[in-house]
């Protein structure tokens, strides 16, 4: 069993009519069994060919997994085009799209032995990722 502490804060003074200040923490433990047997962390160069991000998790994500993906590609600037968005797919369909500089964080549970992949619609993208099998 391993334990990971996650903190998430969201702040904005103008998205809603009042100031938004969300600050949440959660300590999450992985189970001590064969279904929570791996974590996977790395960086990828992404193309239009889907790449699996849970390659080190034997047999796919058994049940639940913590997933973090950040698009580390270049953000558009004066005279510079943005790198492409990263499209995240489960085994049936695209489930998210992450623009350069953005990240997602979620406890994923798409069903038994599932796989998550990343790709671009066109061009070369870049991402960091963390997959922690919980159960």
């Amino acid at each position: 069993m391993a334990t990971i502490k996650v903190n998430l804060s969201i702040n904005s003074s103008d998205v809603l009519p009042f100031v938004v200040a969300i600050d949440e923490s959660k300590e999450i433990s992985t189970l001590s069994d064969a279904n929570a047997n791996s974590s996977n962390m790395g960086q990828l160069t992404v193309s239009t060919t889907a790449l699996t991000i849970n390659t080190e998790i034997d047999g796919g994500i058994d049940n639940r997994a913590l997933v973090y993906i950040k698009n580390t590609g270049a953000v558009a600037a004066a005279g510079v085009s943005a790198d492409p968005n990263i499209i995240v797919d489960d085994e049936t369909a695209p489930i998210m799209e992450i623009a350069p500089g953005e990240f997602c964080f979620l406890p994923y549970n798409g069903g038994a032995n599932s796989t998550l992949t990343v790709e671009t619609a066109s061009g070369t993208g870049y991402c960091d990722y963390l997959v922690i099998e919980l159960t």
Binding site: L8, I22, E24, I28, D90, E102, P107, N109, G111
Partner: protein
């Protein structure tokens, strides 16, 4: 006429002494410009009581009308604020008639940030509608949730 751009800052931090061979300490921040265009000018934060439900019949956010569906990109913050049962998260990429795609379940106290885009996720390849469905994962029970979404334009 559109309103001006807004700003939202989001930071996620991870720490663990025993997950990896080395200590894990990581903090990442994204600062988002929430555009004031016609498709990017809405945001809502709400608390819900989520019933146990079959796919497609849980609480739909935003409400089940085409006019209130998301057109383009949208961020969702979701937290299971209950204390006992998991919260199921599904995405519906059409106004009706499409089986929701399960994103995951949040244990009590857990939270998530989702980046959705109906142009990518729409099953028939057209950019039209996107909604989130939340429900309790345990039969005949309920749990509670906070949902905060903000649109990022098409």
């Amino acid at each position: 006429m559109s309103k001006g751009n807004n700003t939202l800052k989001c930071t996620v931090s991870f720490s663990s002494a025993d997950l990896l061979p080395a200590n894990l300490n990581m903090s990442k921040t994204m600062t988002l410009t929430v555009p004031g265009t016609a498709a990017g000018n809405e945001a809502q934060i709400q608390n819900f009581t989520a019933p146990q439900a079959a796919a497609g019949s849980g609480i739909i956010v935003p409400p089940n009308t085409v006019a209130n569906d998301h057109a383009g990109r949208v961020f969702y913050f979701v937290q299971n604020t209950g204390s006992t049962y998991n919260l199921l998260i599904r995405v519906i990429s059409e106004h009706s008639g499409v089986t929701p795609d399960q994103m995951g379940d949040l244990a009590p106290g857990e939270f998530a940030i989702y980046n959705f885009d109906d142009g990518v996720m729409d099953s028939d390849g057209t950019r039209d509608h996107l909604r989130l469905e939340i429900s309790c994962a345990t039969a005949a029970q309920t749990t509670t949730a906070t949902v905060f979404w903000w649109e990022m334009a098409a």
